[in-house]
Amino acid sequence: MIQALMRMLFGSIVAGACIGSVAAQDSKVADELAKYREALADGNPADLLEVKGEALWAEKRGPRNASLEQCDLGLGPGKLEGAYAQLPRYFADTRKVMDVESRLVYCMVTLQGFKQDEVTRQWFSKPGKESDIEALVTFIGAKSNGKPINVPAAHPEEQRMAKIGEYIFYRRSGPQDFSCAICHGQDGKRIRLQELGNLTTREGAGTAMKTWPSYRVSQGAVWTMQRRLIDCMRQARWPEPDYLADSIIALETFLQKTATGTVMETPGIKR
């Protein structure tokens, strides 16, 4: 159904855009895209995953037959409201800056007794193979809906990670000379028809960060922020980072810090 809608709307974008001046074309295209997004937002498939995540959170699982209800995501054991919006942050117990995914995995290991490579094997879903992590992160994310992003990066370790993220954001390499900043360092640009946020501004970073995790229509799956950023590196034609790598957490810290103050609207829905 969604794909049929996409085809129909894309058809009308192309048909509509063939008439009129270049400026009119541009605004027409933008209008059609906005309508398309609106149509998609009504009934987000991510809502189903959120329900699944809620059940997984409370279910006793793993070698220790324990639930995740005592997991501390930064606001205290079991405190979920607004937890996603204040991550990544420094955790004294691991002496590391952790994002929602690395912390969740830590809880699955320490509370439920799973082995790390076991729980991260299916860190993202494939057709016919669902991912518990995706479901849990969607559930945790939704618990921050309506809460402002709050990553001031005041702790020295958080500050360090934000700066490392900034470094990576501008670092150019690969056969296309890419960095994050190439596409995401200016206002009001598009790649093909896709609008690009200026992630160096609060508004741009806010628009990007507030809607993750997000259901991606083109992929037919919910993507977490780790998945999003690891794919950015694929698009840059770089090798593949480790899941939960510090470079990804550093980028998240940099982006969440820049986005701080923006109100979360999650789960999102995107192209």
Partner: protein
Amino acid sequence: MKPRYALFGTLAAVIAVPSLAQTKPVEPPGGRYAKDAEQVFRSSFRVDNPKYWMSRLDQDETMRLCGQYRDNPPRKIGAQLEKANQATIRYPVEGKLIGDWKEGEKLAAVGTGGHIGFIQPDPPGRLRGGNCYACHQLAQKEVAYGTIGPSLQHYGKTRGNSEEIVKYTYDKIYNSNAFTACTNMPRFGLHSWLTPEQITHIVAFLLDPESPVNKD
């Protein structure tokens, strides 16, 4: 004079002192953690990435300095980089810089190729294009164009196809940094992303009067 303006006057006077006249350089990304950051970045990749994939993370002087200056280098450094990049440009053996615009049109639309990693790599031998439409408007009929680069619609119509323009166009695609250090545009020839021959096809797509870039 109101106090606020008095303060402004004082500041203006201080800034006008020659030794302070230069604008303060922007801090390199990463600040005092830049070295640390390079190490964190490099060690964040899967150990099973083959070496020839990992070499894609190596930076030449242009990449390194562009990052350091947030793609906005001081003019002196920019000029040095442009000179160094100019020296890398190689031409097709036959010397002809205008190829087949129809081939160029195809290459301008292709955005695939060169993706590596274990999740969604391109199959071996996948065509690598110039992906020009990702960033530029070109033929009028293609409405799905990006805006990171300037519109190139009627590129040849407005510029003509003098020898100078042909060479500039070829050179720009081969190594964009020969003209503007730290531009967003990739260096297609330098990285062998496109062959010199493929570049001549894109030159034709931009300049041939029969190409939809100029005709419509």
